[in-house]
Symmetry: C2
Subunit: 341 residues, 2 copies
């Protein structure tokens, strides 16, 4: 692994430095060639950096700023008032070459807006997309895009998402000719919205893509497609529904902790959990924390969006995603891939 | 309970009479005032009716027909060629007063199309909607619509869905002033598609509705709203994703049956399942079979659509739903409710 610097907006997300700094330290521990530039309120951050080993501290560059960008008065207001904020400074660090990629848990629309202005889309890209990995029942993963950056999309935009997603999946999962599907409400050619049907026609003509047709919401986790393409509205609804369903079922299973009334029952439940542990481990793959970190695809540099509600493990995963994408030169591979078409 | 006749299309769905007839017999067993008119291929049906008790057989009226409507060449083709099919005959039985409601597991679009033509929407209804109950984590249920009948909707149509859904929830869950939410990709007023934002504005002015704002996909199961309103595209994606996620997690848990290699392990897993049985029962509420039976809301009569892949328990639930709606006079209550506005 080669040396790499990432810029982190450590103030974004619901929990701020309490989550982001421990995750950063974990990332540095695991990746000896990683350096981090942290943007945020030094007063809030410093307590978490006290007494950490020298070999970690020397790979951290803390840049104080006391502004955090919010999106409560509309996107254009947020963009206009973003100067000096932790998110904007992190993106500017990438633009200015001080870092090769950045991670933020801040507002998705603002992150996309600022990234488009400061980092530029790749040549030929109509609209960058938000992409994420989702787990499959057989222990593998699929790629899904767009997840909320573009709420309505033309057929041509969906085709471009398919191209970017295929390149992302090829590199991410080491696949040749990954299977691409369009998310729709039926599998027959006539189903769904017009832009999806038109995109389907266009994709059938693209011989460089392994287009396999429509996929419905109930098969998202079954590994039938390596790349699942949709507009940002449907993608956001589907991904959040998937996460919410999984989290709710987990919380029911975890509820077993609460109320074992007798010692014997307690012991039985212990034995039960031990006997079934293998399946509990398998279930964990559906924990949304395991695949946090949606990426902005189609920009000249790597930008990873962490969930607002990400915990430490989830923010760590987002940092690792960004590091992987920089080292795999994903933006450049997308540019080359699109030029071939 | 009063006497009631339902018309069933027993050929629709993936499994036909093998599933629909045993479910019908179970429904008759449980509901002594229920009579059924079955439409389908008598050769395929008869074996399942042989040797059944007289008190069930005398409440069955079998009407032979050998045509099944499919939707492979477009909706208008299917509608034009629907004469004499089991689905159409079942709807015609309702139109002609031979039955008070009908159930079919056939194609949703064809069922909606035929129902609109043969049964008519209620006065003032722009577009009938597909509605279903979904389970919540606290063991209750919410109502969700539209689930696929109307893939794009105006703000006004969404408001009408909210009104119909509220009346449905009031009667279904015995609620006063049920909480109504719009499915969206964020909770801030500015998020999402224009028709949803416009519908939100309109709903805020409707004092007869308890509108609580937007709900995101990850909270669908949390019981935050009694009525969840969306267009049919988003609703179909969300419901199927919910079902697919739940089914996949169940299949992982069920996988525990497959491979216990030793007797001791087998015993441990038995004990484990026994100790955790309470939680497995709680999980069952998320089994899609427990809330099969989307209903066409906004028509002059009761029409229930069973899942194509419904098993016996699920088809039984659809019959029970139809019986409940007829006895509760849901169409009439919606008409009265809408007239008040």
């Amino acid at each position: 692994m080669n040396r790499l610097t990432l810029a982190l907006d450590v103030m974004g997300g619901d929990f701020g430095p309490r989550i982001t700094i421990p995750a950063s330290l974990q990332a540095l521990e695991q990746d000896p060639m990683l350096h981090l530039v942290l943007f945020g309120d030094s007063q809030a951050i410093s307590p978490y950096l006290a007494n950490i080993p020298h070999h970690l501290r020397q790979r951290i560059n803390l840049q104080h700023c006391d502004r955090v960008v919010k999106n409560q008065q509309g996107l254009s207001y947020a963009l206009r008032h973003s100067k000096g904020s932790s998110m904007r400074l992190a993106i500017e660090a990438v633009r200015d070459g001080a870092a090769q990629g950045c991670v933020s848990g801040g507002d998705t629309a603002v992150l996309m807006g600022l990234s488009k202005v400061l980092l530029q889309p790749l040549a030929g890209i109509q609209r960058p997309a938000l992409v994420s990995n989702i787990p499959t029942i057989d222990g593998k993963q699929s790629v899904m895009l767009d997840l909320g950056a573009n709420i309505d999309c033309s057929a041509e935009t969906l085709v471009q998402f398919a191209q970017m997603g295929a390149i992302f999946a090829e590199n991410n999962f080491d696949l040749v000719y990954p299977r691409v599907a369009l998310l729709n409400i039926g599998i027959e050619e006539l189903k769904g919205l017009k832009n999806i049907r038109d995109a389907s026609q266009l994709l059938q003509q693209q011989t460089d893509l392994n287009y396999i047709g429509y996929i419905e919401g109930n098969y998202l986790l079954n590994g039938y497609a390596d790349v699942i393409v949709c507009d940002g509205f449907a993608g956001n609804i589907a991904l959040k529904t998937l996460e919410g369903t999984a989290k709710n079922i987990f919380s029911l299973l975890k509820g077993t902790k609460k109320q074992p009334p007798s010692l014997i029952k307690k012991l039985l439940i212990r034995i039960g959990k031990y006997a079934l542990r293998k399946y509990f481990v398998q279930l964990k793959q559906f924990n949304p924390d395991q695949y946090n970190g949606a990426s902005l695809l189609g920009l000249t540099s790597v930008v990873v969006k962490s969930h607002g509600s990400a915990n430490q493990a989830a923010f760590l995963y987002a940092i690792q995603q960004a590091a992987w994408q920089v080292r795999s030169e994903i933006p450049n591979k997308i540019l080359i891939g699109l030029e071939k078409n």
